[in-house]
Symmetry: C2
Subunit: 165 residues, 2 copies
């Protein structure tokens, strides 16, 4: 039984899920894992959280069964973090959050951060939960992502600011 089942005296699945998430940074850590960043430094740099915050979120996500870790280096001991099936299944939440964020939390002159191509039809997928071209529900394994130039630059700057210091 996970923390979310022990601590919450409610049947509401939204409350259970919120208990698992436990505040800021968790969604950004999951975002990085879905983007293919599996190592602590990369996750910390791109989320902008302090090492303590990111360590806490990773521990909590592991305790709740969304991620697992295995060593990729013995000296010094370093771990990679991978999504479990329970973590993988969280993808539709991030996709729905992306749609809402792109639609409601941006100015007109800001680019979409990540553009997806829908491999089923070969066309741009848009920012919704269904392909803007063919209308099929979007699945993670049927999308190819490409960061916009602005967003790629923003991530590069964050990475270089830390690696050069």
């Amino acid at each position: 039984m996970s923390n979310s089942q022990k601590t919450l005296d409610t049947l509401c699945p939204v409350a259970r899920a919120e208990e698992v998430l436990g505040g800021r940074w968790t969604l950004l850590v999951l975002r990085e894992l879905f983007m293919g960043n599996h190592r602590f430094d990369d996750i910390q740099i791109q989320t902008g959280g302090t090492p303590q915050m990111i360590t806490g979120r990773l521990k909590s996500l592991e305790a709740e069964g969304l991620i697992s870790r295995e060593p990729y280096s013995q000296r010094p001991l370093r771990y990679e973090y991978r999504l479990t099936p329970k973590g993988d299944a969280f993808y539709p939440v991030l996709l729905a959050l992306r749609e809402w964020g792109e639609t409601w939390c941006k100015s007109e002159d800001e680019s979409v951060a990540v553009n997806f191509t829908h491999t089923v039809c070969g066309q741009p997928a848009g920012v919704g939960l269904h392909c803007a071209h063919c209308g099929l529900p979007l699945r993670r394994e049927e999308m190819i992502s490409k960061q916009s130039a602005d967003y790629a630059l923003e991530r590069k700057i964050r990475w270089e600011a830390v690696k050069k210091s």
Copy 2:
């Protein structure tokens, strides 16, 4: 320009959305508004947050443009909170979170908290983003909700615990 646009130095829509949400209770406040609870006492009782926390979340949601408020009583002055179009548009995120919570954060002997009937086909909608019977994407305005007996009881107990004290 909203807070989420001012404070976040990133194009990532997930980060923007997380900035708007700002931690625990916010999702539960939105859940209550989508369930038709529009008054402070009812929201506070059913989320289980302290009055201070719920006041803070309502203020933040109003500042970010997800809810508006209007008086329903002049003496004493009392407000009702309503979802704006930006708040309404958040529904798919809650629906995706519900699916994940029902699927991954519950034991087998616990009931689904809220069952939806899909009015388009007249059948149970299931816990996914598409109708379990007809496969169409689920829209809020095409669903009728019914709380399970256990979940209705849990909410009744919370309400009575406060109203009787």
